[in-house]
């Protein structure tokens, strides 16, 4: 009986994690760094990003961004292109933000990471 309860509890707890595609460790580190960088830069001032506060609406929502076809409607949505765009979003309403190339790559990895849940914090 006790074993069964423990098993059920373990299964329930496992459900709290994002058990989607197995991510590689380097990738998850970049995602974690990207979340911190996005918070530090205040991306939430204009964008809805699940797990990031606040949830500004003056820019487009970035929820499930990895499912988008394009970046700002102009180029294919790949993490490397996204990192370039973040460093220099010329021609859009978004200003250049004080971030390094590594920050940009990390934030791109974060925005392309497995389903972001609002409880990810």
């Amino acid at each position: 009986m006790g074993v069964r309860i423990a098993l059920i509890a373990a299964l329930l707890l496992a459900g709290c994690e994002n058990v989607g595609l197995a991510p590689n460790p380097a990738g998850t580190e970049a995602v974690a760094r990207g979340r911190v960088a996005a918070e530090r830069l205040g991306c939430g001032a204009c964008h809805v990003i699940p797990g990031i506060w606040p949830a500004g609406t003056s820019g487009p929502s970035l929820a499930n961004f990895r499912n988008r076809a394009s970046i700002a409607g102009r180029q294919a949505n790949r993490p490397d292109r996204l990192a370039e765009f973040l460093l220099d979003p010329a021609g859009t309403a978004m200003p250049r933000q004080p971030m390094s190339a590594r920050d940009a790559a990390d934030i791109a990895a974060f925005l392309h990471s497995a389903p972001q849940s609002a409880h990810a914090r």
Binding site: V36, L41, G42, A45, C46, P54
Partner: protein, 319 residues
Amino acid sequence: MRVEAGLTSVLSGWPPPVLDAGGPFAQPVVLLTWALLIGGTIVLIVVLAALAVALWGKPSLRRRLGGDRAIWIGGVAFPGVVLTALLIWGLRLTGDLQATGPRADEMRVRITGEMWWWRVAYLDAAGRTVIRDANELHIPVGKSVLLELASADVIHSFWVPNLAGKMDMIPGRTNLLRIQADRPGTYGGQCAEYCGGPHALMGFAVVAHTPETFARWQAGRRAPPPPEAQRGAELFRTSGCAACHTIAGTEANGLAGPDLSHVGSRRTLGAGILPNNRGTLMGWIADSQTLKPGNRMPGYKQLAPEDLAALAAYMESLK
């Protein structure tokens, strides 16, 4: 990078650590907190043990517990002695926290709580305002600073847990609070008295500088704002921003909102809730109501993106 680390801790390490004294005016509070917590825990354990004895103990023990002697010792003598000792010790410990008038050569700052931000005025020895700012306080390390706390509307409470206990800001009164930071860094604060709507988003930052960086900061503050970012300055004038905001050296002299003369050098936007950079400035100007619902600044989504960017560039240039 010290400042950068501090900024991150102010914004994401919320709430600030309460039991980590950063100066002599927080230490007694932390010590008293631990004494009460540990003492209270011991008393709770003794009471629960007595309860266990009363429920399941041997009849002889239960008789003794229910006797007059136990009542007189445990119910009257013990609390009387312990609480009296605690009161005397607590008053002596926190006696120095009662701030009276300014000491010689002591820095004085008047901080006024407003719905839902902090007006900051650095005073000279005669009590005249020297520098105006908002939502942020810069102090030198190792020196006590006297804060004159007031309110412009409802009751707020000033609380920077690393540096001092809480002090209410009451309309019509000036309450004094002394703070001191013994190591450089940024210390987060928070309004600690519910003051309506976005009370939870009424944050504060104290930046403690080494003597050299503090002198640099002071010198920078007295300099006139740079004449760059002309387009943004023009937009600031024509968009009505000056009705509520002051920028020293310009026609803008509104008093309802925070003074923006040095907004570009602040660490945060919206009273401690967002980092301060070009993007967050644009987001705040365009739609502050989504970010801090109910605050007194309307959104300016009607501005074209390039106008928003120009305004943000102007704000950023006001160091």
